[in-house]
């Protein structure tokens, strides 16, 4: 069956521009996570959605970062006024619960 998909796969942007990253989770999965993976680093938790509950945004590094999940399905991570330190691979994962996560291929963001 279809897995988690993310788009775009690669995004190059200029410093100061806004970007939107999209995640299409596996149908029926109520849990959705966003992570950031910088070069040579582990995964950094950004935000967690679970069903209709208020999201856990405690991992977002600054107020330039925001995320939405519409209709309990597709999620969009928005980074405003991008900075070079935002360059990383952004990973989305979904699951039937927080204990089992299926990861997407990621979006590689490069801020020039």
């Amino acid at each position: 069956g279809a897995g988690v998909s993310q788009s775009p796969s690669n995004k190059v942007t200029e410093k100061g521009k806004d970007v939107e990253l999209r995640c299409d989770p596996i149908s029926g999965h109520t849990a959705l996570y966003w992570y950031r993976q910088s070069l040579g680093q582990g995964l950094e938790f950004l935000i967690y959605f679970q069903g209709n509950s208020a999201p856990d945004k405690s991992g977002l590094p600054s107020d330039r970062f925001s995320a939405e999940r519409t209709g309990g399905s597709v999620s969009t991570l928005t980074i405003q006024r991008t900075q070079q330190e935002d360059s990383a691979v952004y990973l989305c994962a979904s699951g039937p619960s927080a204990d089992t996560q299926y990861f997407g291929p990621g979006t590689r963001l490069t801020v020039l």
Binding site: Q41, G42, E44, F45, Y48, D56, L91, A93, F103, P105
Partner: protein, 112 residues
């Protein structure tokens, strides 16, 4: 503070030999522990998890991990390594409904 550590950046093993990838954690309460693998140019894949019960957990691709509460460790093991096991391995711990911490990763290299 909650944390997870993978003390080895790289582990090198000859094919056919047993392998161990180390993970230790610091979490209050009972942790949920996970191992994920990231093959080159592919997304993260779930290997195994420990929630409760038997301390020895068996997972995908012949891997297993042993939960040791007294040593706060969850080392990943395989009796006989394959070249195809070469990848980046991440240990993770969940300590709340939403918070998951990933280790920095260990690159496993299996030589023929």
């Amino acid at each position: 503070a909650q944390s997870v550590a993978q003390p080895e950046d790289q582990v090198n093993v000859a094919e056919g030999n047993p392998l161990t990838v180390k993970c230790t954690y610091s979490v209050s309460g009972n942790p949920y522990l996970f191992w994920y693998v990231q093959y080159p140019n592919r997304g993260l894949q779930f290997l195994l998890k420990y929630i409760t019960g038997d301390n020895l957990v068996k997972g995908s691709y012949g891997f297993e991990a042993e939960f040791n509460k007294s040593q706060t460790s969850f080392h990943l093991k395989k009796p006989s390594a394959l070249v195809s096991d070469s990848a980046l391995y991440f240990c993770a711990v969940r300590f709340s409904a939403s918070k998951i911490i990933f280790g920095s990763g260990t690159r496993l290299s299996i030589r023929p």
